[in-house]
Structures are given as structure tokens and as C-alpha cells.
Symmetry: C2
Subunit: 345 residues, 2 copies
Amino acid sequence: MFSQNHTDLAATIYDIAKKAGVSIATVSRVFNQSTKVSESTRKKILAIADEVGYHPRAHAQGLASRKSNLVMVVVPVISNYFFMEVLGGIQDKLSEQNYELSIFNISPNKDAAEQVGHVMKRRWAEGYLFISIHLQNEQWEQLKKYNVPITLVDEHFEGFDSVSVDNEQGAYRAVKSFLEMDYKRIAMLSALETSKPISNRITGYKKALQEYDVPFDERLIIEGNSMYRDGFTEKAGYEAMKKILEINPMPDACFCASDIQAVGALKAMMDTGKKIPIIGYDDIELAEYIGLSTIRQPMRDMGFFATQNLIDRMNNPQKAISQTIYTPELVERTSTSTFKDLKAK
Amino acid sequence: MFSQNHTDLAATIYDIAKKAGVSIATVSRVFNQSTKVSESTRKKILAIADEVGYHPRAHAQGLASRKSNLVMVVVPVISNYFFMEVLGGIQDKLSEQNYELSIFNISPNKDAAEQVGHVMKRRWAEGYLFISIHLQNEQWEQLKKYNVPITLVDEHFEGFDSVSVDNEQGAYRAVKSFLEMDYKRIAMLSALETSKPISNRITGYKKALQEYDVPFDERLIIEGNSMYRDGFTEKAGYEAMKKILEINPMPDACFCASDIQAVGALKAMMDTGKKIPIIGYDDIELAEYIGLSTIRQPMRDMGFFATQNLIDRMNNPQKAISQTIYTPELVERTSTSTFKDLKAK
DNA sequence: TGAAATATTGTAAGCGCTTACATTACATTT
DNA sequence: AAATGTAATGTAAGCGCTTACAATATTTCA
């Protein structure tokens, strides 16, 4: 239940010390799990603290100890399915370890590096999780100078701990599955190509084609309008798919850079009446319900593990740098299997 | 770009003051937008600060000024579409006003009031946004004693600023639209009924029936399995819809308590081959793409406005308490219109 | 030109904690 | 019982800022 004795002047460590007849150091020790306090005084102090509703002020603790118990998550856009899932995993880990979570949202309108610099300079958090943040090489290098624990999620740069997914492999598997079904003209519904995950997926796409001796045709890669959220929207997917369906001759399969775009693509096919098998990317919760075949990324696990990793580094800055790469897997559903059945007939 | 001169011992206000040949008070004034600094020294200080990459430490500022510039968002479950949208609005407002955002996630496994009490006691944030947090009357009362700015979103309790949606009205409109189409046996796919939004929606449902002289039949209200996320999941929707389709005689329309459940419901209809018109609730981004008719809640606006409201109160604690109620509107899409067309024929 | 008014800067006392080091109380050992 | 070791507590110096108040510089105006 809530504290009963609240007044405007909240109790400080001095009040508790006075009431308990001890020094503030002793009170502080009680609240810092120090073992150097006798059981009797610990109990007395805890009782008094509870009675007056005392709780150490985070700012004072932070200033005095030069620690904040705060982990900052830096993300590009908050309303995004991938991020949501990852954040779920982060939360799980953080609450388990008694850390607070703060979120910093990189606005797409301003320079990313500048905003990141701003966050770092505040020196607020003890550790940072960068989710899907893409910077220039030189900017990553600058970031290292802050000498603060940072773990990258869905991105990798030499010298940082990172947790990511093998995008090349994911795309490769998707495209390969099409090739195995004997599709040759495979389109790729892409997004902003300057981002590394996307360029890696394109590499995987090409690699699969090469392996099956299918010549690469750049006209089959369509980049959705990326003005908003780098193109990771249903709308961008919808429009890009319309273009794809107009290519002559029409592609006979399509690999989409994300599920959310694939949803738009599905809609485009419904509206135009044209239909080709598609595979998405991410495996968002929804994919199962619309029967979308997709490449599954273990998003929640990634968040959980990345946080684990970050906390490890916070506790031991000398720890060796690790790069964790999850391999995504293909999940087949009706957006491809119906066609498979047709082929089989 | 990031700071160039980073060392492990980051610059403090003293370093800047010394370099600039002024007192720390003057430096502080520059960083607090005080007008009482001459333009020339302001520029000099800013230049030096930029050069050494100085930035005031949040904890020190917070302790000295007894303010944190921090707004805490308290939510029940983070991975939730409704919350995501609301958070987007909050972010917009907050970044505009230069506040930091922290998130506290109420774990469903522990007592909500206790966790809320814990957050409040830390006295960390200057203002709190409670999103979809449901407490007992007595617990709300206790909360008031902290005497701290709080704005409720998607919930209301006398004595708090709140921003919510008229759930009764929303449900009423949905059900009424069915009644106008001459459907009589209208099922409701519900969720955990102890929550106020849900009970209000049930009230609206009943009200519409009454108005059209359709007797209320409690067997037509099916509560999804609410063990997880209070039942607001596709899975819960899927299973509940299966039950609804088995009711004898089969209902001829269904009002769902959320879009996310409606997605599951749609799937259930596909799987069983039975089909009745449905209306969801929320209007999540996805609804448009799957043609789901729904009751639109202006989620982003709610977040934005609630934050505005909170900041107003933080600046003026005497401000009169306000309750803002948005009226949701019906958005008709194919999940109802196809049926309408059929009827018309 | 000099006093009064105003603009700019400095001084210093906290804000509420942590923690190294010093001190005291108590238990052990001989 | 004195000497020694150990556990428990206290002392005091910050942590890096803000801000009331005091001091000084600059401007204004008679």
C-alpha cells in the first residue's frame, strides 16, 4: 500500500538517522545492502523508513555515487513492431535486475549523430542499448570515445558488443525457398537501401540467385517510398507491390523486406486481383494470423540477451567484446503454401 | 558531431568557469537560459563548453534544483498497440518541451498499487502519466497524497486530470450501426470484465439494444481467455470467436472489444468458414489494411494532449482539474460493408 | 559629472546522498 | 585482565550543480 504519512517535505536520510538515533552513514548502509550493519539496527531503520515513507532520492544517490541505475534505450522510431518486441525482452531483463529504463527517441528530422551525442553528453545512464541505429563509420568511432557501455541491437560495428540477426542468411533462405519451388523471376520489395540490414538482405538475395544460376535483374528490386520510417510501412509496401505487379513480364514471387510491408503488399494483390507468393521478414505477431510466410527474427530474445550483455559489461568493463548473431528461420504459411499446392497439382 | 575532447574525467561546471575566467554561477546561468548574462560572455562560455564537450549532469541539476525534467509514463504492459500509439503522442509533446521520458512497467505478477507506490516514493519524476492503469478507489485516494502532478490516460478517477475515450458511446455506436442494418442477435467478444473500459463498453452495448427493443441475452457476451494481457490478444480473439460461432442459433453480427482480438476473430471465421460482420475497437494502423470496420480512438492525440495537460499542471499546480473525453467514431470498412451490400441486394 | 538605477557577475550555502577513513564496542585469545 | 582482532558505527569530505544575496560594472539622466 502507499505511504500514509506523506507531507510536502519528504523525509531525508537525516530524518531517519535522527529518529533512529544513528548517523546517516548507517542509514545509507542499510539502503545499500551493506552487510556491515547489525541486524537490530537494520530492522529499526527499515521500520522507521517505512513508517515515514522514506525512499532515497535517485538524484542524490546518482550524484554521490556517480551511478544512476538507469539504462537508456535509444531507438529511431518508437511505434514499430520490431522495436516493441525487442523492448519487451529488455524490460524482462531490466526489471529482473532492478534497473530503471529510459527511452530516447531519435527524431528522423534531425541529425542522428548529433542527437546521439546529445544523449551521451548528459551522462545520465550507466549503459545504453542502441536499437536499429545506423551511423556512419566515423560516427561510431566517435561514440567509442565516451567510453561508456553500449550494446548494439540489430546493427553491428567493430568494437561494440552487438546482438543482431544474420540478414544475409535470412534473405538467402527466403529466396532459396522460392528457387526450390522453381520460381525464377523473384522480385524484392525493399526499403531504404543505405541501411545495413537492407543491404545485407540484398546481398543474400543475390547470393541465392547466383547459386541457382539465375541472373540478377536490378529492375526486380523495388524500393518502397522511404520518406517515412525508412519505408517500413504498410503504405510503402502497398505502393511498391503495385509497381512490382506492373513489371513486364510480371515477377512470379516476391521477397519483402519486412512483414509490415508485406501486409501492404498483400493488400495490393487483393486490390489488383494479381497474385504471387510472398515471404515477409520479422514474423510479427500478426503474420501468423494473416498466414504470411516469413523469416522469423527472435526479437524478444534479442532484447533480453542484449540487456544481459549490457549489464555484464557495466559490471565488468574489461569483458571481451562479443558479437552475437542469431540465424533467422523461414516460417512457411499460406502466402507461399497455397501456391506450392497449386504447383503440386 | 560528437565531442572531440573526451577524457574519462568529464568536464564539470568548474572547468568551464575556470577556462572562461568567470564564476560557476555565470556558467550555470548560461545553461539555464537566464537572461542575466551578457551576450559576449554567453558566447564565450558556450564556445568553451562546446569545445570540451561539456553538458550539465542531470543528477546534479536535479539535486540542486529539486527538479528532474523527467516525466514518467506508467503502463501495465508495454507491448501493446494502444500504448504504442499513445506513447508516440507523448513523445512528440515531450521532445517539443525538452523533457526526458522514463517508462515504468507495472508487472502483472505483483500488486499494482504496491508497484505504483514504489515509483512514487522514488520521487524521481516531476510528473506522471498513468496509461490504462486501473486501481481500487481507495488506492487512487492514497495516490493523491503524494501531491504530485499525475494525468490519467484511458481511465478516470475524480480528483485527477484525465484524458479518455467515451467507451460507452463507442460501443453504443458500433452496436447501433448493426441494429440499423437490422441485425438482432449481436454478440460481443469481450475481455477481462473487471476493467472499467470494458464494463463501459458493455453498458453501451446494452444501451443500444435497449433503444432498439432487442432483449439482452447474456450468453451472447463471450469473454476471451484473459490470462495474458487481459485478453487483448489475437489468440484470445480467435478462441472466443470460435465459441461465438458455435452459439445456437448463431449470432448474426459481432462487436469486438479490440482490433487485436478482431484480427483473431477474422481468422476464426476463415478457419471455420462461417462468417458474420464484425466491428473492432481502436483503429490500429493495421485495421485499414485488413478492411476491419472499427471504432476509432484518437490514440496519438490522447497521448499528446495528456502530456500537454500534465505539463500545464506541473507549471501551475493550482490549475483546475480537467477531464477530457474524446468521442470515438465508427470507421466502416469491408468487415461490415460487404454484408451491407449483400443485404441491399 | 555624479548619483541613482540597472545590468552583470561573484560568493557561498546548500540539495541528499556515498564512502574512505577514523573511532568505538565487543568478542577472542593468551 | 590485558592485548589483539573484528564488527559496528560515526565523521566529514565531497558529488556537480542552483540560487539568494552581495558586490561590482555600466548606463542613464538630471
